[in-house]
Amino acid sequence: MSYSSSRFAPYSIVLLACLTAAGCSASASNNGFFGKTDPPRQNVLRYVSGSEPESIDPQIPNGQNEARICLALYEGLAEYDPKTSQPIPALAEHWDVNKDWSEVTFYLRHDGRFSNGDPITARDFAYTIRRGLTPALAASYASMAYPIKYAQAFNEGGVFVFDPGSKTYLLERDFEKPSEAATGSNSSAPSTESQPLSSQPIESVADEYPANAQLGADSAFHHLMHAPVRVVLPAKEKDRNAALEANPRLKAATAGKQFIPVTAGDVGVEAVDDYTLRLVLVKPAPYFISMMPHQFFRALHQKTIEKFGSAWTDAANIVTSGPFTLESWKHYDRLIARRDPKYWDAANVRLDKIVFLMLADNTTMLNLYKAGDLEATYNHTVPAAWLDTIGSLKDFMDAPEAAIDFYNFNTTTGPTKDVRVRKALNMSIDKKALADWRHVQPLTAMTPLGIFPGYPQPKGDPFDPDRAKRLLAEAGYTDATGNFDAKKLAATDIEVLTNPDGSNISYAEFMQAQWKQNLGVTISIRVMEAKTFFKAQKSLEYKGVSRTGWGADYMDPYTFLSLFYTASGNNGTGWWDPKYVELLDKANRTIDRQQRYALLAQAEQILLDAQPVLPIVIGTTRLLKKPYVKGMYPNPATLIPWKWVYIERDPAKWDYGMPDMK
């Protein structure tokens, strides 16, 4: 309710005052940089990773603070491009996708090595993916792998339905609801008997690929994976019965059948030979490759994990796959990563060490940076209030981010149930003014502008207070003469719900002022502690408007558009439209990139027409980097692939301003 709930508001204001003063005096005398610009004597980069990592097991945590470290320690099939964040070959030299996007084959490089010298093979990646999906591991980002066939079934602890009589499994297509079957399936006569392959369960993972065997491109498993999708039900009897109640036909069919648990071996991952990895997808996912650099898919060493259990990440035990390996980790203090001489491309890794400092307080970070104790800070570390001082300096890096800020509308109750009210509230915000004030780019759509080249992003409604008033009048908020009457829109019906972190409250106050100025409507702000807020938002326990944002999980517009694929999950608006989902599915079945983008844009237009959200601004990186740090770019994912970063000692080659991002 009150602003005093903000964590350390009082002291940050004082800090701000002190440091702005300090910043002014120093920057004037320091060639336009913020603080010292003496390179460290050794090739050691000091960086901040954020708050203490939950774990440096790349499959456990889900924050950027861990990702920053995991990118140094582990390598995946693909890596982020340092400038564009698009996937580029890493441990996979190249990859093929079949025509209907049901299968992706990765061809691994032959010289990939773990930090203990063991070769990195397709088998290791198969292990990594299966392990990440194991229910007992409870990996937060396991859902990243759900496009892989039976990955979700295995991770959620599902069962197949097996008919001991005919030795076959029940298939999903036989029990689809009519409406879905019409759009989804184009196959002919459904028959369980004609699918002998689907009745052959894989006994164990070891059977699939015997050690040292050279298998051909084809295998029984391969056939099995392309057989029709089996019915998957929850393993827990209570949940299963609930699922069966909803589908009487399926319930009848399961009578007398066996329930066989989905195992790791059922997941559509296959090591065809030592250096060929084949993944079978449950439905087309052209964005799948852009997920591959994600830490969840980075190579792990099976023997180490099996030997040490959860202690495998201790410095004494750990085996890593990236350009750097773990030297030491002093919890809540610092983690030191050291160049791994066994890394396949070690000759091109120029930093000897990276010191990741565990701190998340922006002021402390900027103090350290200024005093020359840090080479760079991560994204969003320069508060908007400091931009007047720091924004013009040569070591300030600002570029668009694959992240957006927007407000949710509660489309289920209250005035915002009416699309005209939602549109009016959106149109009455001068986003350009907001963006200029915060030094960011305004946003009218659901995807960030300029991040996905070639994507024909639709434009949302422009700033138009008069039309907003007309829309509100149409919605019934009128006086006796039929004109819009702001008093009719009761102040208690709509409020902006937000958590106090970052600049959220300043944004909310700006919006509040805009609605007051442009519509005469009074809308109050309600501040809630973060975790309380997330819960209220996701269960639609808010009146009218709630603040939110989204950072891309992978570099594809779908990461933003898929928020509204379901009515639940991260969709905090209650809005859901089958036409929208249908277009998204259609887009993902489309192989041609431009056609696919066009379909995604159509879907985005439907979303903008329904206006369940109020787009505000695009995120910007806003970080500091010393001029002598090269190979580090403020990319859209704001994750730094460390192997290309180095310290340049010749001032003639330093970055005096933003490095070239092309």
Binding site: P10, E52, P135, S140, A142, D361, A371, T548, G549
Partner: protein, 307 residues
């Protein structure tokens, strides 16, 4: 004396039980969980997490587990930090907090007692006025302001001390946090010492001591200080407990890996075992130090007898 101590120790157990139960209930009542965030997890992933950490069990089972763990001084594993036990985390944070707290405490005693005694002896002199004004400032200026001011002066202008981070004990990184932390305690101790001394200096036994012909130094050190320090002792016992078990703001401002920093993050993270572990630890420390203060009273003030 022994009976007194035993009785006090027995009281610690139910007190601890109440503190733990209240903490547990409050953590449970707070909305959100350790895994909830801006991005909602897939339902299957959430189910796996709840099963992994036993959150799918009924509340009394979970509460029973908490109590059982505490009875064995094993607070279980952190929910947030994979594979790290709360005991490990406590043992890691305690030395940092203790080093900082003890340094600040000794500094506070040294400076506070000296200025307090001087002020009392030279009452209404310029020394008295100067030190009492300064201590008023020390009480009024909160450490989240003092800390950044010191950083601004000594780290970013003079470059004498690092602005943050921990380099072990002893090191230069300790100086600014210790000064920041001790300021308010210096101020309190100075004022308490002054008023205590003033009162004692007027009492009959001091007049007797003087009448015996003792020198002024001996009067002050052997007789006056013992009586004059009583209020300081009752203040500084619990103060020490709080100082060495972690100080949230100073550790946050200087990014020190102490218990206070762990505690504040545990609360934001809803890391229940860690919250309970730290609360239990601080409670025990405060209760024990209070007991020590009561015992110390007996030694300092001959008028106090325990029955």
């Amino acid at each position: 004396m022994l009976r007194f101590i035993i009785r006090r120790i027995i009281v610690i157990v139910p007190m601890l039980f109440i503190v733990i139960s209240l903490t547990w209930a409050l953590v449970r009542l707070a909305p959100g969980t350790f895994y909830s965030g801006e991005k909602k997890l897939a339902p299957g992933v959430e189910k796996n997490l709840r099963e992994k950490y036993g959150l799918d069990q009924p509340w009394y089972v979970q509460y029973g587990k908490v109590l059982r763990n505490i009875a064995r001084f094993d607070f279980g594993n952190s929910l947030k930090y994979e594979g790290q036990s709360v005991n490990q985390i406590l043992l890691r944070g305690l030395p940092v907090s203790a080093a900082l707290g003890l340094s600040a405490y000794l500094l506070a005693l040294l400076v506070g007692l000296t200025t307090g005694t001087l002020s009392a002896l030279k009452q209404n002199s310029w020394i008295d006025y100067a030190s009492m004004s300064l201590s008023m400032l020390g009480i009024s200026v909160p450490n989240f302001i003092l800390g950044p001011l010191l950083v601004l002066l000594f780290s970013l202008t003079l470059f004498w001390f690092p602005p943050a981070l921990w380099d072990g004990f002893p090191s230069r990184s300790l100086v600014l946090p210790a000064i920041t932390l001790s300021a308010i305690y210096i101020a309190y101790i100075a004022r308490l010492t002054r008023s205590g001394m003033l009162e004692v200096m007027r009492s009959d036994y001091i007049r007797t001591a003087r009448a015996k012909g003792l020198s002024e130094t001996q009067v002050v050190i052997r007789h006056a200080l013992r009586g004059g320090l009583l209020p300081v002792v009752s203040f500084s016992g619990p103060a020490l407990a709080f100082l060495i078990t972690g100080t949230v703001v100073v550790e946050k401002v200087f990014a020190l890996p102490g218990l206070g920093n762990y505690f504040i993050n545990a609360c934001f993270n809803r890391d229940e075992p860690l919250i309970i572990g730290i609360v239990a630890f601080i409670s025990i420390a405060v209760l024990v130090f209070n007991l020590l203060v009561d015992i110390a009273y007996g030694f300092i003030d001959p008028r106090i007898r325990y029955t």
